[in-house]
């Protein structure tokens, strides 16, 4: 592709990121401070270019935006995209810096699920509720994903891709242990029990890490209106059965040596998947593409995919786009957002090329979803994932979810590594979260 066909990819542009947000280091902290006096200057420079729409994104959304350019030019001729692409962490740190300065936010910005509540509560994002065509557009989106964008009576973003939680299983390893999918996926307890049979006689590990099981369990069976860690009123709620079950079973996994003790995306994790040392994964459906395309293509035909154990419905992340409340180009930003969130062919293209599972239900009707996937032994995996996505209940997001996540993981580490009692660990996590939430409740 020639340069002319690419949006202006301005890596050196510090318009909205401040000086210090170049990498995810301490310099980022300095960036926020230094961004304050300068953000206005960067903003002023950008305002001098009315024919540019500033869009900020992280991989692989940046590539999808590049692919979108021809379509965008047919909608808004003469209005180009100025893409500011950063790595995932840097992207969100830069948005934080711009929100702190209250100046220099891009017109349209990608926001990952984990940052959605925090950014939506900032007042820096435009409420999309009253924009023309929203009702029709949101009706076509997977219900749970659009529900995640509704906060404090407003709608602050729209989803472009989602992560319905599914399981990935190594069929050959299950066969060797004379286990069926049904045995593995009937219930959470059955899943762990099947793991014991897998490991017997030095077989493969059930999971990469016991933490993965905890993450899957706490994401399922969430009370209606509640979030992962907070209830509908925003109060910390760790005293539910899903946390007790999650901690108890995670400890059982560790005590019985059922997990490989490797963190996701590490070298050992990737090699474990390639070499058949790990038998199952609980992850978002988007992971199927990664597994097939670059992580373990040589294992084609040996994997199967299914529901989460016990028929649990859960969501793993997702990408959203939001418009800056102060954008002088709100009309164009909305047009772009409608294109990204509402064009089924665009989302299908992103799914084909970048494994971004479409949030748009009309995209799910494409014959592409009915194809049998050789990597999954001829399963119609996409159709299965689509059906599961439609059944996921909405889960509220909270701006302190990342903090709660760290608190719960820290206590789980103590259970897994120091033998702490799970009940006590949950109590301690609840106490720490309550204290922090109290402090940060403004």
């Amino acid at each position: 592709m020639s340069d002319a066909s690419q949006p202006r990819f301005d890596r050196s542009c510090k318009r909205f990121q401040g000086i210090g947000a170049v990498s995810q280091t301490r310099r980022t902290t300095l960036g926020v401070f230094t961004a304050l006096p300068f953000a206005g200057a960067f903003h002023g420079r950008a305002d001098a270019s009315p024919a540019l729409l500033d869009v900020a994104a992280y991989p692989a959304l940046d590539q999808i935006l590049r692919d979108t350019r021809p379509r965008w030019q047919s909608i808004a001729p003469g209005f180009d995209i100025r893409l500011v692409a950063r790595e995932f962490g840097d992207h969100h740190s830069a948005l934080t810096a711009a929100m702190a300065a209250r100046k220099g936010l891009p017109d349209l910005m990608a926001v990952e699920f984990g940052f959605l509540a925090r950014f939506a509560a900032s007042g820096a994002l435009a409420d999309l509720s009253s924009l023309p065509g929203l009702e029709q557009l949101s009706a076509g989106i997977v219900p749970y994903a659009i529900a995640q964008c509704r906060l404090a009576g407003g709608l602050f973003a729209l989803p472009v891709d989602i992560g319905p939680g599914v399981s990935f299983l190594r069929a050959d390893l299950l066969d060797r242990a004379r286990l069926t999918e049904q045995q593995l996926l009937s219930s959470w307890e059955g899943f762990v029990e099947a793991g014991r049979m897998l490991r017997a006689a030095n077989g493969p590990y059930l999971l990469p890490h016991a933490r993965d099981l905890k993450d899957a369990i706490i994401r399922s069976a969430i009370e209606p209106g509640h979030g992962l860690y907070f209830d509908a009123m925003g109060r910390p709620r760790l005293d539910s059965e899903r946390f007790r079950l999650a901690f108890r079973l995670a400890r059982a996994v560790r005590v019985n040596d059922l997990d490989a003790r490797v963190s996701a995306w590490s070298n050992d994790w990737a090699e474990g998947l390639r070499r058949g040392r790990i038998a199952t994964l609980l992850m978002g459906a988007w992971f199927g593409g990664h597994l097939a395309n670059w992580l373990a293509p040589a294992t084609a035909g040996r994997w199967r995919t299914g529901e989460l154990p016990g028929g649990a419905r859960a969501s793993w992340g997702g990408s959203f786009y939001a418009i800056s409340a102060n954008s002088p180009r709100r009309e164009q930003a909305w047009a772009m957002l409608k294109l990204l969130a509402g064009d089924p062919s665009l989302q299908l293209d992103a799914f084909r090329r970048h494994d971004a599972f479409p949030a748009l239900r009309t995209a799910h009707q494409d014959p592409f979803f009915d194809e049998a996937l050789p990597f999954f032994g001829g399963q119609q995996a996409r159709r299965l994932w689509r059906d599961m996505a439609l059944a996921i209940p909405p889960v509220a997001v909270h701006r302190l979810d990342p903090l709660a996540d760290e608190i719960v993981n820290a206590e789980l580490d103590r259970v897994l590594l120091r033998g702490k009692d799970p009940e006590r660990a949950i109590e301690d996590a609840a106490r720490v979260l309550e204290r922090r939430a109290q402090r940060l409740r403004t």
């Binding site: 990498s23 902290t29 300095l30 926020v32 401070f33 474990g272 903090l403 760290e406 580490d413 403004t442």
Partner: protein, 327 residues
């Protein structure tokens, strides 16, 4: 004493220079400020302003995404919270552990190494100094990624090497039976991170000591030799006392660097501080508090407490090393 003669032009009028004159450099008194201006402006913006702002933030409750207008004055609340925070205590312990385990060996190795290079390898001294300095100028992230691969439990070179060593009779009994989980075991990740930090900075310290050794007058060694001093006595009674000013400087740098340790543990632990927060240094916790947990007030308070700790430690080092030479 000679008499001073002052030449005064009787009709010279003192004309006050205009601002334009000053900017054109026609006012000699103003010229130095002009030369200093680029530094002063940059220092004010990137040095002074962030410091003042962080002090301001440490007295406020502020979620940055809500804008500066949302900052609420809370007095010393952030400091009380941080001082009673279990995670902060844990982070201080982790920081101290890593700083000591990586810092002390740096100097214990760098001093003899510099002496050896200076006395025995004079011809290749510059080349060796450059090689030892290489880790210091290499990207920290690249180093940490490389060590992540080397320290991999199942496929890392370090464990493969240990496995090979374990096959040697007698040595095998000294090593653990299975592969060591360097990065996922809280008791192993600290030594692993310390090793990386040591590897990175030992060359820098060696270079400092090597430069200092070259400044020691050779006559002192000749005199000591004539007095019958052994090699060890020359090292102990000549070299070490003469190295004290540089040792003071290097140890102070190590303390400050150790207290600010961030990149190596951050990358080696995947940005989370490791299992059971074993390598979540105060700098990492500070960063995460601000950018992940939306608590800039506590993060700023932590940074000031850290500054205070560094000042106290530096003062102790000054008392221990810095003043000895004056006695």
């Amino acid at each position: 004493m000679t008499a001073q003669v002052q030449l005064v032009e009787p009709h010279a009028e003192r004309v006050r220079p205009t601002l334009l004159d000053r900017l054109r450099g026609r006012d000699p008194a103003f010229a130095p400020w002009l030369f200093l201006a680029p530094f002063l402006v940059l220092f004010a913006v990137f040095g002074v302003y962030p410091i003042i702002f962080s002090l301001f933030m440490s007295l406020h409750d502020w979620d940055p995404v809500r804008g500066l207008g949302s900052a609420r004055f809370v007095g010393l609340d952030n400091y009380w919270f941080v001082l009673s925070d279990e995670w902060f205590h844990q982070s201080l312990i982790s920081t101290a552990w890593l700083a000591i385990a990586s810092g002390i060996p740096q100097h214990l190795v760098a001093i003899p190494l510099a002496c050896f290079i200076d006395s025995r390898l004079r011809r290749t001294r510059d080349l060796l100094a450059a090689l030892y300095f290489l880790p210091y100028v290499t990207s920290t992230v690249a180093i940490a990624i490389m060590f992540t691969a080397l320290l991999s439990r199942d496929f890392g070179m370090v464990n493969l090497l240990l496995e090979a060593v374990a096959r040697i009779p007698l040595l095998g009994s000294l090593l653990p039976a299975g592969p060591i989980d360097w990065l996922n075991d809280p008791d192993r990740i600290r030594p692993a991170v310390s090793m990386v930090v040591f590897w990175r900075f030992v060359g820098f310290n060696t270079l400092l000591y090597l430069a200092a050794l070259q400044g020691i007058p050779r006559e002192l060694y000749e005199a000591a030799r004539l007095d019958g001093a052994s090699a060890w006595q020359r090292f102990w009674y000549v070299t070490l006392p003469m190295l004290r000013p540089v040792a003071f400087f290097a140890v102070t740098l190590s303390i400050i660097g150790g207290m600010q340790l961030f990149e190596e543990p951050f990358v080696l632990s995947g940005g989370r501080g490791g299992p059971d927060q074993a390598v979540m240094t105060t700098a990492i916790y500070l960063y995460r508090s601000a950018f992940e947990f939306s608590d800039f007030g506590a993060a700023s308070a932590m940074s000031w407490i850290l500054v205070l700790l560094m000042a106290v430690l530096s003062a102790l080092v000054t008392k221990w090393l810095g003043n000895r030479g004056e006695r």
